[in-house]
């Protein structure tokens, strides 16, 4: 078996008396698309913060392509090739859509002409060309999500973490986002946190379920939906409907 792209070993973090993430052994293969689900407060976003260096683990390790990045700074991890779209869109609100994407593209492309071309390409890809000169702060939530996606893709990461990419989107927008995720997955690995089970059905094959900071179960989407424990703690009414 090939070495995993991302691996965590007994990963944990404690805030005061609260163990937000505990003993997580997680492994993601090159090119894989994995969904994380779990109730609010299960530690999914904290897990993302540990992987991206926004938080330092209290226990355990994060390995990216076999390299221990547990103690690395967030910007170093970003340069190694992990990109993240955060839960609340984290964008440069006072700047135009184009400038947002440019700031990401210029890190890869040292030449301005190449960067400008990459920006135009990305604007078309995420469907924001018409809004390119608008300040991001003026855009609707769904559009800001795409701006952030465009920013993340522009740094050409090998692993992309998406924290609730479909939140606050209309049905049409959710369909487009699912399509975009599948397209990204053609050459990149992804981990997607989402609550929308329909969205997960559209994109995922394997699902990891978090509960109370730990991994509860990991299986195919079909088996997860049949799993009585998962239904009990998380899916509840939603799955029964």
């Amino acid at each position: 078996m090939a070495a995993p792209l991302l691996e965590t070993r007994s990963l944990g973090i404690r805030f005061g008396g609260v163990q937000a993430v505990r003993d997580v052994n997680f492994s993601l293969a090159e090119g894989e698309l994995r969904c994380l689900i779990g109730p609010n407060g299960a530690g999914k976003s904290t897990f993302f913060k540990l992987i991206t260096g926004q938080l330092q683990p209290s226990q355990g390790q994060v390995l990216f392509r076999g390299r221990d990045v547990s103690a690395a700074a967030a910007h170093e991890i970003a340069r190694l090739g992990i990109g993240i779209k955060t839960q609340v869109p984290s964008v440069f609100d006072g700047l135009s859509v184009r400038e947002n994407i440019w700031l990401a593209a210029i890190r890869l492309h040292r030449r301005r002409r190449a960067a400008a071309a990459a920006v135009d390409e990305m604007l078309a890809r995420v469907g924001l060309a018409a809004l390119a000169d608008r300040p991001v702060g003026q855009l609707a939530h769904g559009q800001r999500q795409w701006v952030e996606l465009g920013i993340v893709l522009s740094t050409d990461p090998q692993l992309i973490l998406l924290d609730e990419p479909a939140a606050g989107m209309t049905h049409e927008e959710v369909l487009r986002t699912a399509e975009l995720v599948r397209e990204i997955n053609r050459d990149k690995a992804l981990i997607v946190v989402e609550h929308d089970m329909q969205f997960i059905r559209m994109i995922a094959s394997r699902v990891t379920v978090f509960n109370q900071g730990a991994v509860l179960v990991e299986d195919t989407i079909a088996n997860i939906l049949r799993n009585p424990v998962v239904r009990d703690i998380y899916l509840g009414k939603q799955a029964a409907a």
Binding site: A74, H75, V91, F92, G94, L103, I106, P135, Q138
Partner: protein, 355 residues
Amino acid sequence: MSARAGTLAGLAAVAAFGLAFLLLAPHWVELDTLLDLTVYMIMSILALSLGLVWGYGGILCFGQAAFFGLGAYTYAVAMVNIGESTLPFLLAIALPAGFAALLGYFMFYGRISDVYLGVITLTVTLILFNTVNSTAGPEYHIGSARLGGFNGIPSIPPLNIPGRPEAALDLEGMFYLSTALLLATYFGLRALLASRFGRVVVGVRENERRAELLGYDPRLYKLATFAIGGAIAGLAGCLFANWGAFVSPTIFGLAQSAQIIIWVIVGGRGTLIGPILGSIAMEWLTTTLGANQTTGTGGLADLWSNAPLVLGAILIGFVLLVPRGLVPTLADGAGRLLRRRLPAPAAAPAPEVAE
């Protein structure tokens, strides 16, 4: 007109006005007015330093006066010792820049929050004030330069043409030099802010976490911005020491620090022309109000001659009514008027074109 063409037109206008002012002012005004204009130019350079650090870098530095004062004292001490101004001039820029870098290293790499950053920079300024203030005795000297404590350092030799100590600058020469350096600083900063570095600095101001997650180290960008701001403030300090041939510890005082912030608030953050106009307007107002004599009869005339009161009222008025400052507010108003005249095809305003 595209945003790019607008930016170029703005640059050309500033360049034309600046050059005309540089060349013509000495022929039109009396020498004492020229002396006033010179100090406006020097204070404008100082205003630009905070305009960069706060307006673009998002770092609210309460202690820009520290670097200004260090520049002035460095020039004075080095000049008294050396007697030829090339090295003192360079030192007056390099030393404050180095000090800013050192201070910035501890603040930014120590991940100090914004509020404490303000407190620390202010405290450093006051420490410098108290330290220099208490060096009145003859035992406090650096080389042959006595620090003079609260008396300051008098009769600082003026700048000379590099390599020719006998060719010292006169008052008119100081005007030319200060104005030219103000223009150079302005255009230098415009170029810096248009560069990759400058745009990332603005990105860090907008969203530090996002910049970090894209692979930029915000600490490094803030440190560099802070050090550049220190260098520019030092340059202004050097010119200021020349202008009056005198420097005293009040340069590190609370009033001086507050003043720089007021210029930037009045002129507008996120622009470069704003701090320049803010400093000139406030300096002019301070001089004018200071010249008013109290009549001693009470009433409105006396109120008007109370300069701190009037300045305080203006500051409060700005913070409450024009919180973004003059230039951004006026630019927005002009833009809105233009668009009402010619209904452009759904073109949104170019965001924050740096002036």
